[in-house]
Amino acid sequence: MTEAAGPDLLLQMYAAMLRVRRFEERARELYHAGRIPGFIHLSVGQEAVAVGACAALRHDDYLLSTHRGHGHLIAKGGSLRRLMAELYGKAAGCCKGKGGSMHIADTSVGYLGANGVLTSGCVLAPGVGLSIRMRGTDQVVAVLFGDGAANRGPFHEGVNLSALWRAPVVFLCENNAWASTTAQDLSTAGGSIAARAAGYGIPGVAVDGNDAVAVYAAVARAVARARAGEGPSLIEAKTVRWLGHHEGDPQAYRPRSEVEDGRRRDPIARLRAHLEASALLDATHAARVAEGIEAEVEDAVAFAESSPLPEPEAALDDLLVHYPWSDR
């Protein structure tokens, strides 16, 4: 894998970002229409991080994700149908309706789980790395977490252990400068997450998280290093959250101008401009891509809408393997 993305990869990344965006915009409408229970955290505006990172991963590489993880799963190649069905709480969802938005896993694409408990993925990562080494494959594991999550202990423990073990882990901080209602400068000492890498003797780089190509290059470098047995890296991708922390948060605590600035740095428009300037994309081609994605998303919605809810008693399944003599 090279660090410079070729034309095909650029086009794939463009389509993937659009797929994430359209899926989440649709999920947003459906949530407000009362079709999706619980609460959802959308990553609109942050697509370049998920897509840039996953473009640098293979299908059999692993990904550990966050409460804001729809885009991560889609970028990793997860089925829109099974994802949407899970958001709906349907039996056909990837977790049979037991997980929901914040607790989704889809092991068929190496997606080892979103997490409702922030940062927990950071301590799972070295173990995944250890397993990769013991099984003798050349897979890697990427773990995503927010800037806010980087302030919990498991971040430090996970990075330290991974560095100690030279585990094939890519720590990827998706820094949107907010943790719910709390701004990064009020919660994160030292200002830079990437700089923390120095304390563990591993590479730490900050990239423009609205530039899918830059994220791809940084993650590809870290992946190459991990595959070569040289251990983990820490990447901080700075991006912008366009919407509220969760759907329904009017984000009154946040200056409007910040979101407007973010929209001006739209990662999708940016890659599209680059593709057009390099004559890799024209209006007809772009329209075809958009149409295709529209159809995929609508297919997922139709699938979720038409599939049945789980039987209530299914709540008792999947807990443990039961022996005939054990009680529930």
């Binding site: 619980g38 607790h103 409702g116 408990v117 302030n151 919990r152 202990g153 919660s187 809810l309």
Partner: protein
Amino acid sequence: MPLMDFGEALNLALAEEMRRDPRVYCIGEDIVLGVPFGVTKGLAEEFGLERVINAPISEAAIVGSSMGAALTGLVPVVDMHFADFVTCAMDEVVNQIAKSRYMFGGQVACPLTLRMPYGIGKSAGGHHSNSVEAWFVNTPGLKVCIPSTPADARGLLKTAIRDPDPVLVFEHRALYRVRGEVPAEETLVPLGSADVKRAGRDVTVIATARMVGEALLATEMLAEEGISAEVVDPRSLVPLDRATLAASVARTHRVVIAEEGPRRASVGAWLAWVVMEQSFDELDAPIARVAAPDVPIPFSPPMEAFVTAHAGQIVAAARELMK
């Protein structure tokens, strides 16, 4: 008496205690704006950001630093955001805070309050919906209270803040918007004082928090069948008001224990043993229990509803006892 909701009553208690005692401060994630349940809303305007502290996402440090402050003269009130996240500070709660006074031979006190928003509802999923009070009832060195009404919420939280020991206050998420009368004057509800929420003759329903409402609903349904049920709310689990439980059992001779948490090794299991130990001769029937199945809380509405304990189960249990 003024009407207010459970969340407002807690807010009032916090404001009153912070006005009364400058050592009291609040700390937690997003508490300046009162996210997500609004309980701490407006406190920063009155008390400033020194005493209403938005912490980083660092549960161990939030709880650990509060212990440090409590040992050295301050009175922290920690907002756990969702009780499920207390697992991220479990060492601090069960090894450090709970054991501090005892292991140091009574030299230190750890007067802090942990506010624990908890409970099932609205498809919040497996990391945000559990009833975890049993973990702490099983941890010597902690006091545990669990209000069911706005008045109790205010009175218990105030008592918790003034208590010289660590107190966990379990606040059920589904109760925050429930309204009720709250005394105009300042009132403290002592720990270890159960409350008979409704008097009855035939069966005692022991219930806490959201299940008190379900129990009261059940009494209405049972009344239609001519069964008179009494509802006893322990209000604090540690210390436990055993006398009120015993007195009620002596009146009714039958007991249903209703809780929202999982059934195995639960608070209800322990309460059943307490009743058995102190009131065995009074009992005319085995103690019945209503609880959730032993599974994490699922996300999808039909499954979530299936594992949510409700009034109908209390009715069925009581009816069975009356046979």
